[in-house]
Symmetry: C2
Subunit: 878 residues, 2 copies
Amino acid sequence: MAKTKQVYYFGKIRCDGDRELRDLLGGKGADLAEMVRIGLPVPPGFTITTQTCSDFFNNGETLSEKLLNVIRKNLKQLEKETGKAFGSTTTPLLLSVRSGAAVSMPGMMDTVLNLGLNDKIVQELSKNSDNKRFVLDAYRRLINMFGDVVMGVDHKHFEQAFTTIKQKYKVKNDIDLDEKGLTELIEQYKTIYKKHTRQAFPQDPFKQMVLSIEAIFRSWNNPRAITYRRISNIEGLTGTAVNIQTMVFGNKNNQSATGVAFTRDPSSGNNEFYGEFLINAQGEDVVAGIRTPNPIEEMLHWQPKLYKQLLKVKDKLEKHFRDMQDLEFTIEQGQLYILQTRTGKRTGVAAVKIAVDMVSEKLINKKTALLRIPAQDLTQCLLPSFIEKEKTDVLTRGLPASPGAASGYPVFNADEAVALNSKGEKVILVSHETSPEAIHGMKAAQGILTSTGGTTSHAAVVARGWGKCCVTGASEVEINEQTQTITIRGKKITRKDIISIDGGTGEVMLGDIPKRAPGFSKEFKTFMQWTDKVNILGVRANADTPRDAKIAREFGAKGIGLCRTEHMFFGEQRILAMREMILAENEDNRRKALKKLLPHQRRDFEGLFRAMNNLPVTIRLIDPPLHEFLPQDRPTQQQLAKTLGISLKHLKNRIEQLHESNPMLGHRGCRLTISYPEIMEMQVTAIVEATINTRKRGIKAKPEIMIPLVGIETELTYLRTKIEQIINQVKKRKRYAGKLDIPIGTMIEIPRAALTADQIAEHADFFSFGTNDLTQMTLGFSRDDIGSFMPDYRDKHIYKTNPFQSIDETGVGQLVQMSVKRGRKTKPELKCGICGEHGGDPDSIMFFARAGLDYVSCSPFRIPVARLAVAQAALKKN
Amino acid sequence: MAKTKQVYYFGKIRCDGDRELRDLLGGKGADLAEMVRIGLPVPPGFTITTQTCSDFFNNGETLSEKLLNVIRKNLKQLEKETGKAFGSTTTPLLLSVRSGAAVSMPGMMDTVLNLGLNDKIVQELSKNSDNKRFVLDAYRRLINMFGDVVMGVDHKHFEQAFTTIKQKYKVKNDIDLDEKGLTELIEQYKTIYKKHTRQAFPQDPFKQMVLSIEAIFRSWNNPRAITYRRISNIEGLTGTAVNIQTMVFGNKNNQSATGVAFTRDPSSGNNEFYGEFLINAQGEDVVAGIRTPNPIEEMLHWQPKLYKQLLKVKDKLEKHFRDMQDLEFTIEQGQLYILQTRTGKRTGVAAVKIAVDMVSEKLINKKTALLRIPAQDLTQCLLPSFIEKEKTDVLTRGLPASPGAASGYPVFNADEAVALNSKGEKVILVSHETSPEAIHGMKAAQGILTSTGGTTSHAAVVARGWGKCCVTGASEVEINEQTQTITIRGKKITRKDIISIDGGTGEVMLGDIPKRAPGFSKEFKTFMQWTDKVNILGVRANADTPRDAKIAREFGAKGIGLCRTEHMFFGEQRILAMREMILAENEDNRRKALKKLLPHQRRDFEGLFRAMNNLPVTIRLIDPPLHEFLPQDRPTQQQLAKTLGISLKHLKNRIEQLHESNPMLGHRGCRLTISYPEIMEMQVTAIVEATINTRKRGIKAKPEIMIPLVGIETELTYLRTKIEQIINQVKKRKRYAGKLDIPIGTMIEIPRAALTADQIAEHADFFSFGTNDLTQMTLGFSRDDIGSFMPDYRDKHIYKTNPFQSIDETGVGQLVQMSVKRGRKTKPELKCGICGEHGGDPDSIMFFARAGLDYVSCSPFRIPVARLAVAQAALKKN
């Protein structure tokens, strides 16, 4: 029955709520009640519950009579506690009305201040008050805010009137306008109000309150709020609460002030009080940035007693809430009030520092520390970042595809990127979209900017794998490859203009924006060590080169879960041999070309085994369709034809022949090695020779061979037999006496494989879920094409999250669970991992832990995130 | 233990086998034994089992000593029965060696005749024999056949030698060569044999036998045989049997003859003895067509007694085997021998006629009649066909994609096809591949010929839907659109040459080959009535036009299971409005264009409801991606831009914008109507208005609305709500007082939909399985692209059947079963149907019956097939 209570009072004479009631009172309401309970100076008021917001929408968007009565009762109580009366002309009670949902949504919901004023009260107060100007200013603020927030009158109309009046009275700052000017302004505001709402500004304070509450409730479903919830994956909330609180005025006189503070530095995490305040100002003045506020330390000189009191409040808040707090305060005529507290937002670096510090300070335990930091935020600890205030010339915004900060000259061609890079020039590779062909250019560039593609596009996937900054889908970027220019919103950028891209925000900027370098703090290292203590899943890396493998190991990878061998074919010598192989007319010539690739592959594998000494290295046989290796542009085609001594026509025919309507579902993966077993033979030979070579040098090479795109057990048996033959042949040829125990496993990435996992497990030593493709096929989505409808799908609540980012548990997850269960029914010891993009996603990792997987594998730069997510999964399981 | 017996004797003194032992003795061996058992004059011999063939391959392709001993023992028995001796120079036993698997594979395996002759025997016989020429001729045949079949010497070498000798002796026919010439020819044959095999022709008759048996065993795995088994879906066989039988000679003299006969006419099914014979000839002479044989009736004049004996044999065979038989006989010096009998192959028309006749004749019951005819064969009853012997100039052979016979001038462009057709010219649309854009051209053409694409390609699917002849994947057809010519194996065909294509065989021929028209016989009607008596599943039609609906109804459809509304958008006026809609910049303009489409759609639906009066009509909302409606060629693009008054650049931009990497997984189906609900609104409005209009005219319109490509329940709820609103709006606007009970259901064609069928069923009135797309996504195959590896997959036994032809029961079928089970758990009365291509495939229908579906829906011309398959499923279930 307690839940049907619609209004919760907070004040000295009664306090109904506490911080446990966040869902019902919203974060703000719950924390206000909590602060009252621990004796902090909070102006009294009451909170209308989130449930009431939901009822409001179910009730045709009207407030019930019953609710209005309850509000009236609470209002009475408030009048009693404050000794003021709502609507009184002598001692008027003025109120603020603020929204507040269970999860903080900064800037999303709206606020009305100074509620309760009307013409008559202002007239009376002006007579009696020492500060007529203050009263008039409060009233004009009310009309403006109420008109804007509650009635939807565009703020600019009020703004214009204010500017005109200031010109008329020849003053520069708002604060300089005198009483006469303010009186005239109020009249103009009322006229504006009437013109746009077709009614007079309401003189009944209670009507003001009712309209405000309704407006706040309605704002729960305004597009901004909906979008914010979608972007932040906030769901399951019933609505917003409304907080009605006694006004206190930081703008009453010079003994008054207002401020915002963090109990610790939210940027670095250092344990230093951090904030700003403004004398004789209202809270919005600080936020709006109209005047430049003073650093919080300066309060010590202005009001040492109050500053000390504030420091005590700070300590009390941290000790009580046991987390860094973001608080708002107001000083009214020498009296300190705390208006709000909430958990402070912080950078990833700060998050780690604060968590580790608080453990040393015994404020929290390690479990709390590990669970507190959103795993995702750890990426911020690993990348350079722009200094925010230096971002002046933001040209456009694309999708934040791979975090980081990069600056360089724009180039439009992969080869050119490589050439300039080798000369020491920094470049940003700019293109409509990228193809595996451009991979060397991506590697050479500081960052990648594409005008199409989503955050799971090829460019993004590869970039994240490398921890390389990438912005995709920047649709305003018009590329003209001929003139070698970019046009953004009419602004032309040439090859001589440096641009900067922020992979964390998607911003594209002109100029070389200064950056802040990353670095592992000792707190970061401590924190990562804690994660390992509670690990239930191994974390491996998706890495294709010894360099990546080394980074992965530094980040704590326990092996390689996915080595994409085709990435090894893109080097200059190699791509030529690869193309020769593809263009060969028969098996003999294919074998000749493959023979050239063999030493490269072998050397790559040796490097990987060395970097991953004593840790498993899962090597996936060639996966992409052959046409991805052939050049699409005419000059390269001509060059290639010449180099290989074939006709351009033959080359083009072959390219046309390899063209596929739906390459995603085409001739790739094991289908390729079944058609051309000689490719597999070369790869397996390279693996086995590298294993033997490195083992002979004392390195514990632990390769695992993985077959991609298996849909039916016969594919696996066909290849497995051949792979085993090659292993034995090489072993014999190399006269290796040791045991070559190379597990042979399969990707599970086709729905049919999941459905027949029991049969497939008979011939597989391990499963590795390729959840990218599994998602594509299970949901019938092409990753490259969902851009055309996915944003609309999110807006219309068809899919709650992007299924390529967090695994679709109901559909794709069901197949994963089914595979694990059926696979282990056949083979109880079957090792199961996941090597899709989801392996680095905290929510998905939570799911994989529940599904009983043995490890997740993700790109090197996601490893800390994955390790933390795994630890969190373990802690939540217990 | 009986199964380990390797050799089965058949003859008067002992007969080990019978027709029950087909698996072990092969069809030929089992039937020979059976004929002996019922007292027919069969030359004695023995059969080596199929198991022995399998053992041969497991035994390094050698015959075991044990087996050779068993053969020797049986040979002794044979010598005893015939009174002749193998290798004797006076009374030599001559033998034939023939293959014979459990399933008849005509032409696939090989035969050796006259085994047992050698130089010495020939020399002795020539001395004693009255017919020296006959002996010499038998010997030259042996060397030729043995060299070719057993030793792999190319037949042409023997052929050339024969031609030269005939020239030398100035004779025209083989038979005219005298003894001297034959003696010389034998010497030359032996030289050829030695030259190519590097050994002399074996003089040891037993060695001849051993080598022959080995060759026949090996031929089980020759490419021809493997291909035949793959094409015919023959599997589970262990190998071929070998039949060794006493030779009888139809070429001994003019009292001898040989012939082939069918107990009834295999082409029409008429109960008339049907066959041919040749006097003084060996069986191969009839088959090879060197001499023109005589109709069997003429035997009455030649040898009335023997003819009567043969008629008796015919009756006995039919009565015993209770099916039409195909028999081979030989008359040696007035003595009749039956060499072989087997179930006769027949056309679909004949199959029906024979089955119905045999029921009247009380030879079989209705159940047997229904089960006997491969459902597939009924398609032949519905289409015109070429007169086989008129097929003279076969240029190449593609894939038989849609049965039928078509002739016409080749055209290379859809619009031209339409133009010429409207002038009354018959054309064949020839293209690399077809797109939905070419659909009007396909409709206008007599037939479709493509150089790429499989039997499930777009062209094939559409063609089958229309019962239109189509040959796809004719890779030898080189198309030159510029010169408007085709080149096939170097032969150039211009616009002025009529070509003919046979959709049942894939043949492409030059000239206007004469055709035979279809027609429903009274037997066909009787037969189809029988199927209805045992029906357990409804059969509906996939039909988009009133014309198709009418045909479907004539063929016995119980409603429409799939009306593809987008096909209605391709008419001249409609495609323009459709394109206008796609190119519109905003919703308003889209609505304007849609308004033009509305009356067309409404009229189409009215026609469908009329044709399907009182039967359900399932209408699928628009499915394909929008880019399929836009023109891809420049002239049409320019024309369109001009017509719509937009710039070509804008048009091209929109086309590029709509381009998708994997259109199959792109912005289509319900994704489209969620993005652009106005399209759905127009379609639903048309459906409801058409329903009301036709009902007012007394027609019982029963529409069902089907939503395609649903993957998640929210898609369905989103659209269902909107659809219901439209229905109510139209109802109100049209002031319709009746009940508008229009079921709203969903396709299940995305794996996720199947996995969450329980959730989806809550909002669906019915399920319809789109097994084409479900197969594509579950298996990760693109129908348009599998051509690059599927043939190899079949050869390597990865997939046993083409999963787009017969449903993959293990994978896709599992999802179908899961959906039905889960869907009906939520909604026990949930109606489930299937409208993919598999709905017309007999094997798949068998599965759907087991899975508990309510109906299958297929193209009109597959309906008789489906009805029979359904009946067979029912009969096999009981």
